[in-house]
Symmetry: C2
Amino acid sequence: MIKNLGANGNYKYANRGMTLESDIEITNNFYLINDKAVIYKKPTPITISKVNYPSRLEAVIKEGYFRTPSTTDYNGVYRGKYIDFEAKETKSHTSFPLNNIHSHQINHLKMIHKHGGIGFLIVRFTTLNKTYLLQYEKFEEFLKQNTRKSIPLSYFDEVGYIIKDKYNPRVDYLSIIDKIYFGGKL
Amino acid sequence: MIKNLGANGNYKYANRGMTLESDIEITNNFYLINDKAVIYKKPTPITISKVNYPSRLEAVIKEGYFRTPSTTDYNGVYRGKYIDFEAKETKSHTSFPLNNIHSHQINHLKMIHKHGGIGFLIVRFTTLNKTYLLQYEKFEEFLKQNTRKSIPLSYFDEVGYIIKDKYNPRVDYLSIIDKIYFGGKL
């Protein structure tokens, strides 16, 4: 669902309290409407243990539990390529804590990369108002060369890409993908 | 979750009561383990309206509702290509009722096709024990040329592909994808 729409249906740019998740949702919706890409957030995986049927046509979940996801949150297709990524925010000023990403999500991105898909992370340092795209390859490189429990901001500056804050689309990560994989310009 | 596993962890071939959904789950798991493809079923979309926290680490959903999905159930990557499909069973002997597929799922497949992904349906006629793969292109062709509310079995025989019943992987739809898109043999 798209929240925080202005009276004219446009996103309220003034609202700086938006989460990365809702910014990406607005962005993906922009891509879809403008026929640029088809990328969705996967629903949260839930194990349902009790359902009531107040009527023949209605089902109400009365008990359920959140499951740990096996994959990343976002995937889809862009210019014929399979796209797959995870998006995370951190309040840290200096580094991105790795406990934000599950080990099976890292493994999932590894598999995606192996099978010819484009995998990456989008990481926002909320207090700095900076959002980066980090390719899976660079992420893997870091994990191989370090035993640190967080990725320093300097690594993002060095090998990542800043996703510039725009009006519309809000978090234009595909412009970075164009640059990296399709020889586009930033 | 994989159900109906034998003592050795293998799927019990004898069990004919398996649904198409669980057969595909076993198949996707086989593809994943054998490093052939990364394809997952998306979680069922749910709107959660009430959550209890019996402890700091535990969350229990106490009220939720099923949402109509905007996309198909399955997607992933195979040989660098984006794969997207919907799987449905019918008890009919003669045709596949189109009310099994939501209009936004059809539209989703259309978009996938447009953006260079591989989209299709897997349809099982349970009483005939026949499972077909129908490319999105052929599905669209049918919808354009017909006002019928169901696709006759003969159309599947004519332009679809039978997915042969195998031991492992159970519903080997990627062998058909190989044939159609990568010049493989059936």
